[in-house]
Symmetry: C2
Subunit: 246 residues, 2 copies
Amino acid sequence: MRTRVPGATVARLSKYSQYLKCLNEKKVTVVSSREIAREVGVSSAQVRKDLSYFGEFGIKGLGYKVKDLQQYTLRILGLTRPWPVIIVGAGSLGAMLCTCQDLRERGFRLVGIFDNDITKIKKHLFGLEILPLDGLPEVVRQQGVKIGIVAVSVNAVQEVADLMIKSGITKLLTFGPKVIQVPPKVEVRNIDIVAGLEMLTFYTGRKNLYKKLRNEQVLLNGRDARSKNVCYGQFSREGVKLRGQG
Amino acid sequence: MRTRVPGATVARLSKYSQYLKCLNEKKVTVVSSREIAREVGVSSAQVRKDLSYFGEFGIKGLGYKVKDLQQYTLRILGLTRPWPVIIVGAGSLGAMLCTCQDLRERGFRLVGIFDNDITKIKKHLFGLEILPLDGLPEVVRQQGVKIGIVAVSVNAVQEVADLMIKSGITKLLTFGPKVIQVPPKVEVRNIDIVAGLEMLTFYTGRKNLYKKLRNEQVLLNGRDARSKNVCYGQFSREGVKLRGQG
DNA sequence: TAGATTGTTAATCGATTAACAATC
DNA sequence: TAGATTGTTAATCGATTAACAATC
């Protein structure tokens, strides 16, 4: 017997969880699917459906206990224990990630940052010494690191990923347009800021440009016709309706 | 008559376009949907389908002329003219974005960076002076800026977005978990690095955790059972099949 | 009880895929 | 021509939604 969880559900779960943390800090004790939905920009049915993949966490007629649901979402997301993480690339992206307080707060613990640039090695970034790449395997093995962040330029991404995987890392976060080849058991997520911006520039006065556009309106698909917060990952196909300029 | 373009298609189009640029630089003149598909990690049918929303760009039996198709994808994505962009937030995220060469190469021109931190104002970031926030409306109007990047901490995101929108910006890129409220005509994309990492930590030894998981395998949905490069945006629901640890 | 909200079902909607005719 | 590859169709697959019984 199998349950399939949409990837979109997992992405939303992260948002729910982050919101619940916020509510908990504000001492709010109970929340309804409607309130969560409003905050995260989805329907309440969606919230309940997403949660229902994992269990029954609510109280009918009342809603969800914030503290409990937060704990549940953390367990579902695998965040009840800290995750050691390494970063390769001590450029501005690497530096940004080092300073990222959110990561720490969600249980990610940076245990190594690596770079082969001689001018960077031995310098410190947020209390962590920048090490040469050949020190990577040892750190990964000693600390049992499973998550690696690849923050290097596009032409080095595959190479760095290969090294990480060889050292025992099974979960990669990469940046930029490069799609890498990895063995079956390795999972990759990719964040592409340029692609994000390009989705914003898509369509603007393109009537009559191409065959398909000659006599038709072009719409970006999605049920919300207007604005949309698009969360991480390639999930949820919310889109923005366009008027194809016509 | 209407054509609906899936948001996932636009996200992929950006990848195709970035790959085509790369091919063009390597003086490759012709490429097949199969080759593009392989590079981007989708099926060749998907590539052809995506392109077919906009026209017929290929030559049967041969493939696509790299140079031509690159131009077409740029036009589709609205990248044939430069886009002035502003950033609010001169922290490490803002700094990272300033140094991002990829943005420049794809036609995004940074025309202003703003911050209200007195210790940052008047300093320079990549040749651009950091200005106080109240200088924002003027820059936006003078330069006709439509795209704003919100690189501030979570509690300031809504406020900054409001100011941008009031000044005439209609396309926002935000970071972090915050989902903001915007008027109908404003489009928002969001990049959430933490959510990206949390999708990697999802599921690990969670058998027997909850009702639903007691007797079932939990799978992250998606057709590719193994690894997956997950591109930007909430699009494409490629996922990773899990063995629910069981 | 009356009001509220969950969890779940069935229907709908949308995106992907496989297959193939068209044709270079 | 034979081989290759496109563009498109119909079928499949998957995700979202609306509605409502259950129940606090």
